[in-house]
Assembly symmetry: C2
Homo-oligomer: 414 residues x 2
Amino acid sequence: MTQLEIMGANAKNAARFLMTAGAKKNDALHAIANALRKHSDEIIKANEKDIENGKNSGMSESLLDRLKLSPERIEGMAQGVEQVAALADPIGRVLDGRTLDNGLKIEKVTVPMGVIGIIYEARPNVTSDAAALCLKAGSAVILRGGKEAINSNKAVATIMRDALGNAGFPKDCVALVEDTSRQSATELMQLSDYLDVLIPRGGAGLIKSVVNNAKVPVIETGTGNCHVYVDKSADIDMAANIIYNAKTSRPSVCNAIETVLVHKDIASEALPAIKAELDKKNVEIRGCEKTRAILGDSVVPATENDYATEFLDYILSVRVVDDIDAAIEHIAKYSTGHSESIITNDYASAEKFTSCVDSAAVYVNASTRFTDGGEFGLGAEIGISTQKLHARGPMGLNELTSSKYIIKGNGQVR
Amino acid sequence: MTQLEIMGANAKNAARFLMTAGAKKNDALHAIANALRKHSDEIIKANEKDIENGKNSGMSESLLDRLKLSPERIEGMAQGVEQVAALADPIGRVLDGRTLDNGLKIEKVTVPMGVIGIIYEARPNVTSDAAALCLKAGSAVILRGGKEAINSNKAVATIMRDALGNAGFPKDCVALVEDTSRQSATELMQLSDYLDVLIPRGGAGLIKSVVNNAKVPVIETGTGNCHVYVDKSADIDMAANIIYNAKTSRPSVCNAIETVLVHKDIASEALPAIKAELDKKNVEIRGCEKTRAILGDSVVPATENDYATEFLDYILSVRVVDDIDAAIEHIAKYSTGHSESIITNDYASAEKFTSCVDSAAVYVNASTRFTDGGEFGLGAEIGISTQKLHARGPMGLNELTSSKYIIKGNGQVR
């Protein structure tokens, strides 16, 4: 057995313990939160090594900021774990049930997934966040973070494992893959005898690599080429305000927009108002010919590639379209199926857009920035699924569960 | 673009049509049922070629029987399509919804999957069954049957596509991959730009090949190494009757049992009663040492490999276990997670078994043979999932759907 197979077998055993752990899971989570606080200094010391390595390898300021842990951030991690403990247990919910004509009583009940793998990049807080969510959902978790945060992740994982052991849980409820080579990532993606699901959290490159290499079931998350369509009947002030919010409130996240589509009949009035808002944050506009005819040559010509790009930056593609059908067509062609919004006062347009746009979250007259587990009221979020299988959109605790049928009889045969 | 990519792109366009087809889907299904009846002769003629090829290549009688179509069987296919038309539409159900504090009204609604791929083996009736279920669920389908049934499948698919065209639907709502090479199967498994999910229906070899090669999301179906555990407190007559039913009523199907585990305190009384039932159908028993000590040397010694084997035949492994924990341990080690049953009159044993056995369907005092979409009241079945993601156990129309969030506001920004 390889080291990862041994880790998988241990996780599978721990998962069997967790299947019936019930409310004791909360004791383990509180033990983890307290241990993170108690060992805050150790975590910071380990994190300093990562920061130093990052600086030496020329890591950008914004990445260094994501990587950096402070006493406040560690307190935030501990509180995050406590918040997960406070959520309702997603296991044991009866989803459906009835008595069949032959007297069999059948119930469909939520059960743990088993062993969950999480592959992620530079943020060390994901280590505790993801572990807490998986534990609460009754599953063991194998974590594989990026090499940039390996020292921080090792410190956090060791503290969590010790806390689990002290709370009477198998340490292997949480495990960290310490080998951060590409090979270990690929091996994890193919650990089909042990992993029930693998969730990648990170940029488009990571997601693509997982989808291409995985032999275990995967939930794709996070890439968001999101759109706002300004319909003929839109309230222009509302449109400009929503577009400004959806583009600039946090351009680096997946629910930020990348393209605005504007109905031709409203374009000459709407586009200058939209641009006026975007100018406040110096957003670069890349526009189609009609957009440039209205907004002038300061607008960069948009290419096919621009429409397909998730900029994650202060850049926005803009295209004037003939009608709502052309907008829906554009979205079908370029969207990653994350979040799209229509700004309209027309009932038929709102219904058509919500029916025909095939994305995880489809909005009328609201910012796409709301696509988030916390905002949707899920309590916490492990990621945002952009696939159609199992979970779509923000995933909370319920999306980390599976189900089984329990059938009770008194001797029935078929 | 390859031929399969073109097929995928066409299916994706057809899927967009189906997204909003609503009750018109039933017209298309009735058109298909009528066309199958009308062109029954053509199908039988094509089927005769498959039968002839099968005979020439030495196909077994039981496989030839599965392959063979008669007027009655084609009438059964047509009626199957009509039964699917009569089921409730799984699309547009509101799964959840509420108004958030900021006034956003959020709903989670079932939507079509998009494009579904089905890879299957020799039965030509799957061609119409699977197509009908996918259509009703609002998805386009790409079918890839086995080479043994290619002539039958081509005839059935052509008739369905023509019927769709006549009913005003895109023909590409249903497509058949006519190239039955291994290469075309592999290409289909990797058609990730077009397929939203791939469902293999067939033997363990096919399922394994799909899991190993697929880059699209897969729902594993069907392999069933199922168990009955006879607890200390079991009613012995009930146990013998259930075991007889679960082993012999149809040994070739996935919900038939392969191993019986018997508590040591009841073994000397229960095993002879069980054997007496099984002897009626000459079931070969492969037993552990304790089983052989009770039943005698006519029982073949069981090997590790026997416990891991899905015999799909009149063969049964039998093992005497020390207690319920040993039974649960055995099942955790050897089961494929399909269906298991405990025979008991003890409340705590029933609760422990249903909580701790991690399979899609867990029974108390009933035959595992009930694990079936029809028996569970799902109306029809596309297969039985043995994975934990998306669907577990029998899959009906609901399991062929995805969901999306629709959020309605009046200008909300974050």
